[in-house]
């Protein structure tokens, strides 16, 4: 028997908590309906329903359903979605089958934020602001080709929630580099050859921070690994009017060279390593960050992905791994991801 077990603990005055899976699992039969995640509802709306043609283990399909179901719940199921061209659009609406159970419009690759603005403007003109607008796209549509439109939407503070499903490259066209591709990652246009294989260590294009620079009401990051966090953020975003931005990390088994079953695990490692900081900001200021619960080295994250395999073979590239670790460490410091009350769990 451990020494500390001999201490007499009086727990009778403590409220009974749900310790089995805490707040990390999707739901639980023991929780009251309002304490469960939206996804645990057997009658959930399934904004994106079955039959879509996303790859096995697609993080984006998952992220989109999570986010839009939450937006539907928050708006009384009154949302209109505008989708940029990309995987999400292609796999969800190949004629003659659509997987969307919400009014949904696809126009072009680079204009989703502006189209969403148009929808919001029309609703306002028609006096139907009870209907809310969600714009969505992948990282290419968001940080690259649609960046100008997004910035315009932010600057005008149009009443649109824009969600970026970031899988860190142009997956739909065959895994080419985007402005969101991380350093050292191999893509079809940043091959794992030469002296510095993979993507360059550039300046990065941190869209959440760029969004914050517009001082829009709400900016948040999230991943498919933390459903409740994502749902809470979408719900919170829906409580604001004006331009809002949520950046969701969605691993791509095909593009990242990971196992289809590891999609959530990899997203979790991205957060627990500090490479993907999870935080929220209001009116340009960070107001909260999600502390790391079980800290992992970046290597744990990298080694599950073929796009980083050149860092481990034929010879190990400690210089590059250290560089990536430094990025993670910087995030941890910047967003206070190792706050003391969460340390050592």
């Amino acid at each position: 028997m451990k020494l500390r077990e001999r201490l007499v603990i009086k727990l009778s005055t403590n409220p009974v908590k749900f310790y089995q899976v805490g707040s990390f699992a999707v739901g639980n039969r023991l929780l009251s309906a309002e304490d469960r995640s939206i996804q645990s509802d057997p009658d959930r709306t399934n904004a994106l329903t079955s039959g879509h043609r996303a790859c096995q283990g697609c993080g984006e399909a998952l992220g989109a359903r999570y986010a839009l179901d939450a937006a539907m719940r928050a708006s009384g199921e009154k949302i209109i979605a505008v989708n940029a061209t990309g995987c999400l659009e292609v796999f969800s609406t190949p004629y003659p089958e659509s997987s969307w159970r919400i009014p949904w419009l696809h126009s072009l690759f680079g204009n989703a934020p502006a189209v969403a603005t148009g929808v919001a403007a029309a609703l306002k003109a028609q006096g139907r602001t009870d209907i809310r607008v969600v714009g969505q796209g992948g990282d290419g549509a968001t940080v690259d080709i649609g960046f100008g439109a997004l910035s315009g939407m932010f600057e005008r503070n149009d009443d649109v929630l824009y969600i970026c499903y970031d899988n860190e490259a142009y997956m739909n066209t065959g895994v080419q580099r985007s402005g969101a591709t991380p350093p050292a990652a191999r893509t079809a246009t940043t091959q794992a050859v030469g002296e510095n294989p993979g993507n360059v260590f550039g300046q990065g294009k941190n869209l959440p921070r760029i969004a914050m620079a517009h001082e829009i009401p709400y900016v948040a990051t999230a991943t498919v690994a933390d459903l409740r966090d994502l749902e809470a953020k979408v719900t919170k975003a829906m409580s604001f009017r004006g331009a809002r931005y949520i950046h969701v990390l969605v691993p791509c088994p095909l593009g990242w060279g990971s196992q289809s079953c590891d999609t959530i695990k990899i997203a979790r490692l991205a957060t627990q390593s500090g490479l993907f900081p999870v935080f929220e900001a209001e009116h340009g200021e960070v107001v909260a960050s999600t502390p790391i619960r079980k800290r992992e080295s970046v290597e744990e994250y990298l080694k599950l992905q073929v796009r980083y395999s050149h860092l481990f073979s034929p010879s190990r590239r400690d210089d590059v791994i250290d560089h990536l670790q430094a990025i993670a460490d910087k995030n941890i410091a910047r967003y206070n991801l190792m706050s003391t009350e969460n340390e050592g769990q």
């Binding site: 007499v8 089995q20 039969r29 996804q39 289809s260």
Partner: protein, 539 residues
């Protein structure tokens, strides 16, 4: 106006696309073996009753528990809970306090007066059980539930065996023991106490269709200790038995107990309660090698019992003992050192283990025995057809829980034998290991420790030392169960499927895979906290 062709699509149109055809592997919900269940000598389905208890359905949980073991209140006090030693949660924070929840359920059942109905159909067959200890009572309970007429005969005047005559009251209050045994009696089991059975074969002729022997091991092992005539040397088993019968043995101010097992701890603690100023245990090896349960050693030490580890009694004199120091050799065996000391002692109680007293069987001694025990086959049957045996008298670990397990196993095999069938145990060797769990989803939650009577107070009387859990912390503790290998409806699979291919069937009914859409990605398997889903090849 008509909607545009092809560019505009209708609601739910994708449901026509059965993406299940992409799949090469499919997920399947399974029930795997949790380590607690695997380790339980009584074969309890611990995970299952904890699961039921988690929502406060205590009666249902209790009823699930007593499917295997009729004595949760007793178990919750005396079982050394091997389940907790192997609990996967220990690797996360601390093992689930299974034993304390079991006691809570047992006590709660007594408090509420829940009873166990007798069988709905009588088989008309009769079984005689010899010995009213844990094995005998367990066999009686299970056989009765299976519809057989059961008679229990025991030479003592009250049923319980070692639970009554070996385990002191401060560990097992007699009202608890009586209450749980009474429930078995109320099912229609006939108890014939103060009845010695001298001839087992005769019993078969009496009209019993089978016999279950569970006479225990009640003979204290003797060791040759040179002693002077004035030395007062007693048997631990006898001391405990006498205390139970109200015959307080004369032990003196200073009592030395020789041995390192649970009986040694029990008798030393009893001596203290009987008024001994000093109770000293002498044991030839070290604490970690002592057969006594560690909790019992701790409690004994807390109560002021002194222990001389690595010591043997070389000579017992009048009011003193000669003790030799031992040292462990490289194989961990104690070897004499030649160093001696003298210990004051008014009495020496030997607690060196027990042997089966085959003389209790009288004329039945023709049954095969081996190394002082009675061997049985896989169906618990002795060398004689129709005569089964279990508990301390057969080769096995000698604990209450093991006895209860023997009783159950014997009952099921006796039933099969009586019905001329064979009992097929459903084997589940698919043991869940810690690394198979996705522990991310379990919140850290240290286990609740049961309150104990203050050491200074408790050594003075026979009040129960370890307190039970109240409802709120019993619930907390039950909910710490990680449900290894068995779905506990956390909804993860339902939530994480990118293809909405999991159907939620509602509370208690779990989930189903919608194979029309499941692409076989395996995320549900990876994110299942309890390792209750596996991927299997799909044709």
């Amino acid at each position: 106006m008509e909607k545009p062709f092809a560019i505009t699509l209708n609601l739910n149109s994708s449901l026509a696309n059965h993406t299940g055809s992409w799949r090469v592997e499919k997920p399947e919900y399974v029930h795997r073996m949790p380590p607690c269940n695997n380790a339980c000598p009584a074969g309890e389905n611990i995970q299952n009753w904890l699961y039921i208890a988690e929502d406060g359905s205590y009666e249902a949980a209790w009823r699930a528990l007593i499917e295997e073991n009729p004595f949760p209140a007793i178990m919750g006090r005396v079982c050394y809970h091997p389940c907790q030693s192997v609990c996967n949660r220990a690797e996360l924070d601390e093992a689930v306090g299974i034993n304390s929840v079991e006691r809570f359920l047992g006590d709660h059942a007594i408090e509420k007066g829940w009873s166990i109905p007798g069988p709905s159909v009588e088989s008309g067959l009769k079984v005689l059980i010899i010995g009213a200890g844990p094995a005998g009572l367990s066999a009686a309970y299970h056989l009765r539930r299976l519809g057989h007429g059961v008679t229990v005969r025991d030479a003592t005047h009250a049923p319980g065996g070692m639970m009554r005559y070996g385990i002191p009251k401060y560990r097992l209050p007699r009202e608890v023991l009586d209450a749980e045994i009474a429930r078995v009696k109320d099912m229609g089991v006939v108890f014939e106490m103060n009845t010695r059975v001298d001839d087992v074969h005769e019993a078969l002729n009496e009209g019993f269709n089978a016999v279950f022997l569970a006479i225990g091991a009640q003979l204290s092992k003797r060791a040759y200790i040179p002693a002077s005539e004035a030395a007062r040397i007693l048997d631990a088993i006898k001391v405990l038995h006498d205390v139970e019968d109200g015959n307080q043995p004369l032990l003196g101010r200073k009592v030395v107990v020789y041995g390192g097992g649970n009986t040694a701890m029990d008798v030393a603690r009893t001596a203290k309660r009987l008024g001994a100023e000093e109770a000293i245990i002498v044991y030839r090896r070290t604490r970690d090698k002592a057969p006594a349960n560690d909790e019992e050693i701790t409690e004994a030490l807390e109560e002021g019992i002194l222990v001389k580890w690595l010591s043997t009694v070389k000579h017992a004199g009048d009011k003193h003992l000669e003790i030799e120091k031992m040292a462990l050799d490289e194989n961990g065996f104690p070897q004499p050192t030649g160093e001696f000391e003298t210990l004051e002692a008014d009495s020496l109680i030997l607690a060196l283990g027990q042997e089966v007293d085959f003389s209790l069987l009288g004329n039945s001694a023709d049954l095969d025995t081996k190394d002082g025990t009675m061997p049985v086959d896989a169906t618990m049957m002795t060398s004689h057809p129709g005569i089964f045996a279990g508990g301390d008298m057969i080769p096995a670990e000698r604990t209450v829980t093991t006895g209860v397990g023997h009783g159950k196993k014997a009952a099921r095999n006796i039933d099969a034998w009586l019905r001329k069938t064979t009992y097929e145990k459903i084997e589940n060797n698919d043991l869940v290991t810690f690394d198979q769990l996705n522990t991310w989803y379990y919140t850290d939650a240290p286990h609740v420790v049961r309150e104990r009577l203050e050491a200074t107070r408790r050594a003075k009387d026979f009040s129960e030392v370890v307190k039970g859990l109240d409802e709120s912390n019993a619930l907390y503790e039950a909910r710490r169960c990680m449900s290894c290998g068995n779905c506990f409806e956390c909804d993860n699979c339902f939530g994480v499927c990118p293809d909405n291919a999991i159907i939620k069937l509602g509370p208690g009914n779990g989930f189903e895979i919608n194979l029309d859409y499941c692409k076989g990605c395996g995320i549900c398997v990876s994110e299942c906290p309890s390792s209750s889903i596996v991927m299997v090849p799909d044709k």
